[in-house]
């Protein structure tokens, strides 16, 4: 089976909001979270989607 979409990583400032098998990066501030998400986006060739103010996911399309 070919996976069409997958969550590669989650970046958050509230660890209790995320759980599961994807890599989770916890950050102190919103700015740090944005920087980490931007880097991960470039590294993983995915898109950083914002689910809320304190949660980003990197998705491979």
């Amino acid at each position: 089976m070919k996976m069409e979409k997958a969550i590669l990583a989650a970046v958050t400032t509230k660890t209790d909001k995320v759980a599961g098998s994807a890599a989770v990066f916890t950050c102190e501030t919103k700015e740090e979270m944005e920087a980490v998400a931007a880097n991960l986006e470039a590294i993983l060739d995915g898109i950083a989607h914002a689910l809320s103010d304190h949660l980003y996911i990197i998705v491979k399309h």
């Binding site: 944005e34 986006e41 470039a42 060739d45 989607h49 914002a50 980003y56």
Partner: protein, 289 residues
């Protein structure tokens, strides 16, 4: 030299000339270079010969010679396969791919143009042999006009109205007018998109064309044509910067989001209006019989 020499020469020359006439390199960038062109000119020459030879064979009561034309048909179907394979292979390396529907359309055009060459040669030679060279010249002109009509399909501006629309962000959601396009998380990406992006709304002129512009292949063709003509603000490894088209489910309008390098909305509108309506995307839901 016999009585068929000049008619045959005439038929082959006209047939090949019509292939040259139909073989144009434009923004679709295909066939691009000399080798691609030589392949099609040679095939055009073969097609012209087949169409031409059919007439003298019939006149000499060699009816079995017509079966050669079936050979030609299978030969030119190969042309279609060849074009399809080449273009599909190349498509994965395009920043904005053509899409399979567009490729199929191009491949079909290549096949059918060879048949047009056969018909032209056939008719022209028939006129030469049955009547005289002047009638044959007249038939040549008519064939050129007929080919011109067959070559030009309809454009997008025939079936939709194109209007520019603003790009807006609602939180992380990118919208063209009220059509949701995608979720862009990073603020810097959002800034880039607002700076370089452009939005257009395509409103169908009638109910029947809704499904045509909803066709994913037709949508991809729009994105490809715009990106080819105006450049595209993206690179491999930047999946967030991708031109997209989404549909308004309520009324069938489509929202086009593009990232052109050339910031000229009027030009973009012109290009979208001139995108060909793909044969394979056309549907006629209101036609019953």
């Amino acid at each position: 030299m016999n009585e068929y020499t000049y008619p045959i020469l005439f038929g082959i020359i006209v047939g090949t000339a019509i292939r040259v006439f139909m073989l144009r390199t434009d923004y679709r960038q295909y066939p691009t270079y000399l080798h691609g062109k030589i392949i099609h000119l040679s095939l055009g020459f073969i097609a012209a010969s087949l169409g031409t030879i059919a007439i003298p064979s019939i006149m000499e009561k060699e009816f079995t010679a017509v079966t050669f034309l079936t050979l030609a048909a299978s030969q030119f179907r190969e042309v279609r396969n060849m074009e399809r394979n080449t273009l599909s292979e190349m498509d994965s390396y395009e920043l904005v791919p053509r899409g399979n529907t567009y490729i199929e359309g191009i491949a079909v055009a290549f096949e059918s143009r060879n048949y047009l060459v056969i018909f032209t040669s056939f008719i022209v030679t028939l006129c030469y042999l049955a009547l005289n060279i002047w009638v044959a010249l007249g038939a040549t002109i008519l064939c050129f006009i007929a080919c011109m009509i067959f070559m030009s399909g309809s454009k997008l501006s025939d079936i939709v109205t194109v209007e520019q629309s603003d790009l807006t962000f609602d939180g992380a959601g990118l919208y063209v007018d009220n059509i949701y396009i995608m979720n862009i998380g990073l603020p810097e990406r959002q800034e880039e998109i607002l700076k370089y992006g452009m939005g257009f709304i395509l409103t169908p002129k009638s109910f029947s064309v809704r499904s045509t512009i909803a066709n994913l292949g037709q949508r991809q063709a729009i994105l490809h044509d715009v990106s080819v003509s105006m450049g595209v603000f993206r690179d491999s490894g930047t999946p967030a910067l991708v031109p997209l088209i989404k549909r308004d489910l309520n009324d069938g309008r489509i929202g086009v989001f593009i990232l052109p390098q050339l910031q000229d909305p009027a030009r973009a509108k012109e290009i979208i209006s001139a995108v060909p309506v793909l044969e394979n995307a056309i549907q006629m839901p209101s036609k019953k019989r």
